[in-house]
């Protein structure tokens, strides 16, 4: 436990540790938290993409929140849970624990930048799609550089972004849904960038959660 932590431990933490006893429970809790974060972000970011038509509250405002297909948020949630659990696991396997900016404020900053990237892609009018894609790619790399800076994070991000783009493309081919305007090789070229930024963000959150759990675990081992 950190220095400040030892000075300010509140009594309520005691039973909290006692509740969380074994590893699997914490894993499930972590996964659930990541899942809900993913669902929430998916809903909000989807709403960002919905183009505004009317100024007045349309009567079906609630339905516009769920304007996309019902399976999109759960998919995003599952994916984010997997990514968020995978990142600390890979850090552990590679034996290079992530030490860069492990603080909640940094994580919050990362999430805010991610939302900002989505915002920019939805709201800002770009001259052409190449510009949009390049800008987003630069922003995503900047996000990685600012908040992650680990090789494993970069590699995993690229791989998952490519996989996700591929699977989306397969879905499109099967006619599950359509792009409004495919621009580059029949895909939206900004999609991989968004995926990459999302992977980095979720990985950051997952690592932070895992760090919290590590703290608890180390405390437990101290007690044993």
């Amino acid at each position: 436990m950190s220095r400040s932590g030892s000075g300010q431990t509140d009594p309520s933490r005691g039973p909290y540790i006692a509740v969380i006893t074994n590893r699997s429970t914490t894993l499930v809790i972590r996964g659930f938290m990541l899942f809900s974060i993913g669902v929430f972000l998916a809903l909000v970011l989807n709403l960002l993409q919905v183009q505004r038509n009317v100024t007045l509250f349309p009567p079906d405002v609630i339905s516009s929140i769920f304007s996309s297909a019902w399976w999109v948020p759960p998919c995003c949630g599952t994916a984010s849970a997997i990514i968020g659990l995978l990142y600390p696991c890979i850090d552990c396997r590679l034996g290079e624990p992530h030490k860069f900016k492990r603080e909640w404020s940094s994580v919050m900053r990362c999430v805010a930048v991610f939302v900002g990237i989505n915002h920019a892609s939805a709201k800002v009018d770009f001259a052409n799609n190449v510009q949009l894609s390049l800008t987003l790619a630069a922003l995503s790399i900047g996000l990685w550089w600012t908040f992650d800076r680990s090789r494993s994070g970069f590699g995993l991000g690229v791989v998952i972004a490519l996989l996700a783009t591929l699977s989306t493309q397969l879905l499109v081919y099967n006619g599950v849904f359509q792009y409004t305007s495919p621009d580059f090789l029949y895909i939206r070229s900004w999609l991989p960038c968004i995926f990459f930024a999302g992977v980095i963000t979720m990985g950051n959150i997952g690592r932070q959660l895992a760090l919290y759990e590590c703290k608890l675990m180390s405390e437990k081992t101290h007690q044993d």
Binding site: D10, P11, A18, L45, P59, A138
Partner: protein, 1254 residues
């Protein structure tokens, strides 16, 4: 030296100088910074305040042309949105119709049925109007705004609103613009009402849309008093054709002339609508703000080790926010107008600029050495972090510059803001935040200084809180031992977090202030944007109540700044605009007039409804909701956001209908409506609304009260009125509530000082009734714990240096206060020495009993200055030179020997001191001299007492030369001595009749005390006045006590034994060889060797319940099971040695060298909480009851509530407590505590606990 290093050095030096500057002149720098912030924000005043209300612009009708898209230079006051054609032109046709004269045969429905019926003919007229001026035939169909489908969600409006054609809205839409449907409608009001939404509605309703006037002005009601029906036919035109419109206007005026209407028709109003934030945009926006707040929260939470966390967090947020404002202001100043939505990009800007630098600065400054001057600390902290700050800033600037070259306008603008924001943020960090930080650090140092001044701290807190009415005037000057709570800054309250938040909110009244400020801002914005048309309403009210009467009849209508009207009424627009010859003074229909005149006025009810045209009709649309037009257009999927519409001057139409016509158009069912029973029912609907609102408000209030009650129950975990004990204690002012508005009365507990020792106290031992103390000078005193009287002083034959003569003087029985004469002890004011010391040659008149507390604040110099000159030979008064001292000493000794009566108890075992070397030098400093060769039973004054134990009336003292002595505590006689060991006794345990001594060489000796009872056991020969039975068996003075070494464990430990504790038949030793050993007391057999510490053992606790806890130099605390020898738990709690350990039934309390007191759960080993104490104290601990912990501090002892970690009380032991730490603390059975306080002992009773024990 590379360039980089040189640069780094330069930057560091610059930052250092800057830090010195900031810390030296905080106030001027803060003033300068505030001034620059305000100066940079000044251009913001010119920006429009954010609001969603529409903006108006008025132009003349006559020379109106559609504005072009390009801005055409400076065109007066043209707003920048006035470009390009509007979305639509609105041409309202305002119809006022009345049946006149009113006939008593008419039913209420007649008020509006026939007037509404005329809308169809009017519509027909408008639709069929064709204007032909040679250049082409224009009709409404060609000019109007063609609309398509309604939005899919509006199916229910499909029958009412027009689709696929002209957007022409009128009340006729209710009946699909078909006269037949209208005529066959049995209940018009029901038709109108069925489209109204249920419940409350704030924006435009369908009724407003179709009627074009607010509901209460339509007059379509059964209870209308004025009997004038008003409605609007709204034409929405896609393109503007002045000639068509004027011909239509003339035609309508000709058909339906308005007599007294002089509405101005010369200007049109352009209404610009701002972007509205819909729910769909609101959710992402709210999300970003939530993330932003989480970021700020997590960032500012890291601010630590400062005086005021909240203050610094606020300063950090202010720094970032004002840097943003500065950036916007600067950008505006240099001509860049922000086009981005400020609310949307704001969180991203904050995140980009970030709070990191501020936190890094704070951390760096607080981690500088505390003993430095504030200026230097600031400067050092700044220069330490200068390089990383500059590097980060350069990186961020680079990233933003890259963003600038994306050449996307929005991103460029964002980047520009961010760059300016970053620079101004840096400026503010360097000047504003650093200065605030220096002020904070200085305040902290001041607080530290105050803490070192206990005379001030001991005074009652002069802080007047708003909730602290002082019932009694403050005591004039408290006696030095009064107990007050420390000031809040000095205390380390361990309240639960939620309570602290609530207390903070309550203390600062933050919520109320927020609500107040928010309300004021909201009202201001409301008044600024005027969404409800309040000003229009006010203007109308004023014009109606104008004493000059015909405000609308002519002249300038008294607008209250509704819209920028052109000065002067202008020319007559009708004549210039009319194509068809329109009569300038339209002749009213003669029949109407004649009917109006010959109608006999009835009683109170106007028989001829007056149709008047006022100024409020001129722009009747102002009375509608400001969402009226956006909602109308939104039904057709047309947004008005950031666009404008042009509203053309209204066309007034007056309709007078004859009663005959009204009766003809009547529906058969209309007559079933009863006439209004009385006029009072007119107000009924309004009243009903009022009642509804009142009922709703009441329900909401009740709900709020319930909610607050639940909240209170949740937050307030302590039951104030239910637990009797807690309540009583709280009443006595023991619990800390002063911080939050409760002022505890000053308690009357005062510590009892036991004076007598000349040196610092080294050992303390107690068995509950008696208390033995030993000072560095080797003197052992026995005290009564009930009264604080000194019973015995052990070195009866001590040598003492007389400071007046400078010679060595052998003092016989000084302070030997007879135990047999208790009445001499009770008062404590009478010198009692001479009464019973007759047998001795030198009756000493020394007061040894504790004096009243009044005089205890004087430094006790009595042991040093012997004022008993009468007890000395007269030659002493002559101030003989020092070299004579020995002679005198010999003299005195001789005299003493002659006069000393042989004491019966001492004869056997106590030879005269002369058997040793005659006058032995005793150093007052008490350092150990090599032991002189002495007799077998000679008390050894040369070696220091290292350990002492007290059981019954026997004092076991272990000396540094390995001797173990047993003294009679009451009589002060040496009962036996054992010199089997040579190595110094470091620790002693005295249990039953066994004594265990731990020695410096790591060996452990077990002694047995044998008593040969000539008279019988348990015959306590104590003074009759105080014959309380001690808990342990006593040894009568007649007993022959022998102490025999039964077993010696030679190598119990490899290294010196540091701790020895015995309880429950076990002896536990801790040594510097990292192990703990457990021995059985009976057979001195080693049961377990407990290993687990990685440092020497410094503290051990064992009690009757066989709980064993040990703490070591590694800061670890282990809990062991004594029965099995297994480790129960192992926790790390301290940085440095664990100095003291105490257990209660539920928790373990440890204190360490890091001045931290940790409270652990005993069963789980989880740390419950910790208390950070002041530097240099906290080594001594004691538990008085299950929930009361007492700790020693600098000149004070503090009482803590173990359940909550609250500081209950701090008792100051003396007036000046500097440097005098409480090192030992013994809790007695009668809920008193004894602690050493320099050379004095302090006895503190805890009355509340006594109460509890009763």
């Amino acid at each position: 030296m590379t360039v980089r290093e040189r640069l780094r050095e330069k930057i560091s030096a610059a930052f250092y100088r800057h830090g010195l500057l900031c810390a030296s002149y905080p106030v001027p720098i803060i003033l300068f910074t505030s001034a620059s912030i305000l100066a940079c924000c000044y251009p913001l005043l010119r920006l429009p305040l954010p609001g969603t209300g529409p903006v108006e612009f008025t132009t003349r009708v006559r020379d109106y042309t559609v504005p072009s898209h390009e801005p055409q230079g400076d065109l007066g006051e043209q707003p920048d949105w006035y470009r390009g054609p509007p979305v639509a032109y609105i041409q309202p046709v305002l119809v006022k119709a009345a049946v006149s004269p009113w006939d008593s045969t008419l039913v209420p429905v007649d008020v509006f049925r026939s007037p509404l019926g005329r809308v169809f003919s009017l519509l027909e007229e408008i639709r069929n109007h064709v204007h032909d001026d040679g250049s082409g035939i224009r009709s409404l169909e060609a000019l109007c705004l063609q609309v398509t489908d309604l939005l899919p969600g509006l199916r229910r409006m499909q029958r009412v609103l027009p689709e696929h054609g002209c957007l022409l809205v009128s009340p006729g839409n209710y009946w699909q613009n078909q006269r037949e449907l209208f005529d066959s409608d049995p209940d018009l009001l029901k038709t109108v009402h069925q489209h109204e939404p249920k419940g409350l509605h704030t924006s435009a309703t369908l009724r407003d849309l179709l009627f074009g006037v607010p509901v209460k002005h339509t007059g379509v009601s059964l209870y209308s008093r004025k009997r004038v029906v008003t409605y609007t036919i709204t034409m929405v035109l896609g393109s503007y054709d002045a000639r068509f419109l004027s011909s239509l206007r003339a035609r309508l005026r000709q058909l339906h002339p308005s007599v007294n209407c002089s509405l101005r028709e010369d200007h049109m109003v352009h209404v610009h609508f701002k972007e509205e934030i819909g729910m769909a945009e609101l959710i992402p926006l709210v999300t970003t703000y939530i993330i932003l707040f989480a970021y700020i929260y997590f960032s500012t939470r890291k601010i630590d080790m400062v005086k005021s966390k909240w203050g610094l967090a606020l300063a950090a947020v202010v720094t970032v926010l004002s840097s943003l404002l500065m950036s916007v202001g600067l950008c505006t100043l240099f001509g860049l107008t922000p086009t981005l939505n400020g609310g949307e990009i704001f969180p991203y800007l904050v995140v980009v600029i970030g709070l990191e630098n501020v936190l890094v600065l704070t951390k760096s400054v607080v981690s500088t050495p505390v003993d430095l001057e504030v200026k230097l600390r600031i400067a050092q902290g700044l220069s330490n972090e200068s390089w990383s700050i500059m590097k980060n800033m350069a990186t961020e600037l680079c990233i933003i510059l890259i963003g600038y070259f994306t050449l996307v306008p929005a991103i460029q603008e964002f980047c520009l803001f961010a760059v300016v924001g970053l620079v101004s943020d840096f400026f503010l960090q360097m000047f504003f935040f650093t200065t605030v930080l220096s002020i904070d650090i200085r305040r902290m140092e001041l607080a530290d200084l105050n803490r070192r001044l206990p005379a001030e701290a001991g005074m009652p807190l002069p802080k007047p809180g708003p909730l602290r009415p002082r019932e009694a005037p403050p005591p004039p000057r408290p006696s030095p031992h009064t107990i007050t709570l420390q000031t809040p800054a000095f205390r380390n309250l361990r309240l639960p977090k939620r309570l602290r938040v609530v207390y903070f909110l309550a203390r600062t009244r933050l919520a109320q202030r927020f609500i107040m400020v928010g309300t004021v801002i909201w009202i201001g914005i409301l008044a600024y944007t005027d969404p409800a048309g309040l000003r229009t309403y006010l203007a109308a009210q004023v014009s109606e109540q104008s004493p000059l009467g015909d405000g609308g009849a002519g002249g300038l209508p008294p607008h209250l700044g509704v819209a920028p009207v052109f000065p002067g009424p202008g020319g007559d627009p009708v004549g210039t605009l009319s194509v068809l010859p329109a009569p300038a003074e339209p002749t009213p229909l003669p029949e109407n007039q004649s009917q109006g005149h010959h109608g006999a006025p009835g009683e109170g009810v106007p028989l001829v409804p007056q149709i008047s045209w006022g100024a409020e009709d001129e722009e009747g649309w102002r009375r509608l909701s400001f969402r009226h037009w956006p909602s109308l257009f939104s039904y057709y999927n047309i947004t008005l956001a950031k666009r404008y519409i042009s509203i053309l001057p209204v066309i007034p139409i007056t309709l007078h209908l004859s009663p005959r016509e009204a009766i003809e158009t009547r529906h058969p069912q209309d007559t079933r409506h009863p006439p209004p029973p009385s006029l009072k029912t007119n107000d009924l609907p309004a009243d009903l609304t009022l009642y509804k609102v009142a009922a709703l408000g009441l329900a909401a209030g009740v709900l709020l009260v319930l909610l607050l009650f639940c909240l209170y129950r949740v937050l307030c975990s302590r039951n104030y009125g239910q637990n009797g004990v807690a309540h009583g204690r709280r009443r006595r002012g023991d619990l800390p509530c002063d911080d939050y508005g409760y002022s505890p009365p000053i308690s009357e507990i005062s510590p009892l000082l036991l004076c007598g020792h000349s040196m610092d106290i080294e050992c303390l031992a107690s068995d509950g009734m008696l208390l033995a103390s030993c000072c560095l000078a080797g003197q052992i005193r026995v005290w009564d714990t009930q009264t604080g009287d000194c019973l015995t002083v052990i070195p009866k034959h001590g040598l003492r240096r007389s400071s007046s003569s400078g010679c060595w003087e052998q003092r016989d029985g000084w302070d030997a206060v007879g135990v047999a004469e208790p009445e001499n002890l009770g008062g404590g004011t009478e010198p009692g020495g001479g009464v019973f010391d007759e047998g001795e040659g030198y009756p000493l008149r020394r007061r040894t009993t504790p004096r009243p507390a009044l005089f205890e604040n004087q430094p006790d110099l009595t042991p040093l200055i012997d004022t008993n000159f009468d007890s000395q030979p007269p030659s002493h008064l002559l101030l003989t030179p020092p070299r004579d001292g020995f002679d005198f000493g010999g003299l005195v000794e001789k005299a003493y020997l002659e006069h000393e009566p042989p004491s019966p108890g001492l004869t056997a075992s106590y030879p005269s001191p002369l058997s040793g070397p005659p006058p032995q030098r005793r150093r007052s400093l008490g350092y150990i001299q090599p032991p002189a060769p002495q007799g077998q039973e000679t008390p050894d004054w040369e070696s220091a007492v290292w350990a002492m134990e007290l059981r019954g009336n026997l004092i076991a003292a272990g000396r540094s030369n390995g001797k173990l002595e047993l003294w009679d505590a009451v009589e002060g006689s040496l009962r036996c001595s054992n010199e089997d060991g040579v190595s110094g006794i470091t620790a002693l345990a005295f249990l039953n009749n066994r004594i265990v001594a731990a020695r410096l060489d790591g060996s452990l000796d077990f002694f047995t005390v044998d008593i040969n009872k000539p008279l019988g056991l348990l015959q306590y020969r104590g003074p009759p006045g105080r014959s309380n039975m001690p808990p342990s068996p006593c040894y009568s003075s007649e007993d022959v006590i022998s102490c025999q070494l039964t077993r010696s464990v030679q190598c119990a430990h490899q290294k010196p034994i540091t701790v020895l504790r015995a309880a429950a038949g076990r002896v536990v030793t801790g040594s510097q060889d990292h192990t703990v050993r457990v021995y059985r007391l009976e057979d001195s057999c080693c049961l377990f060797t407990l290993q687990g510490h990685s440092g020497g053992i410094t503290a051990i606790y064992i009690d009757q319940t066989m709980v064993l806890a040990s703490g070591g130099q590694d800061g670890a605390i282990c809990l062991w099971d004594v029965l099995t020898g297994s480790r129960v738990s192992h926790v790390y709690g301290h940085r440095g040695d664990v100095t003291s350990l105490v257990c209660t039934t539920s928790c373990v309390i440890s204190s360490g060298l890091d001045d931290l007191i940790c409270i652990w759960d005993r069963s789980t080993g989880i740390k419950l909480y910790s208390i950070q104490q002041e530097v240099g104290c906290g080594a001594s601990l004691g538990v008085i009851s299950e929930s009361l912990l007492v700790t020693g501090g600098q000149g004070c002892v503090s009482f803590w509530d173990l359940n909550f970690g609250d500081l209950l009380q701090t008792v100051y032991l003396g007036q000046s407590s500097d440097g005098q730490g409480v090192r030992q603390l013994v809790v007695l059975n009668n809920a008193a505590i004894v602690c050493d306080f320099g050379s004095e002992l302090s006895l503190v009773y805890v009355p509340s606990v006594l109460e509890k024990l009763d």
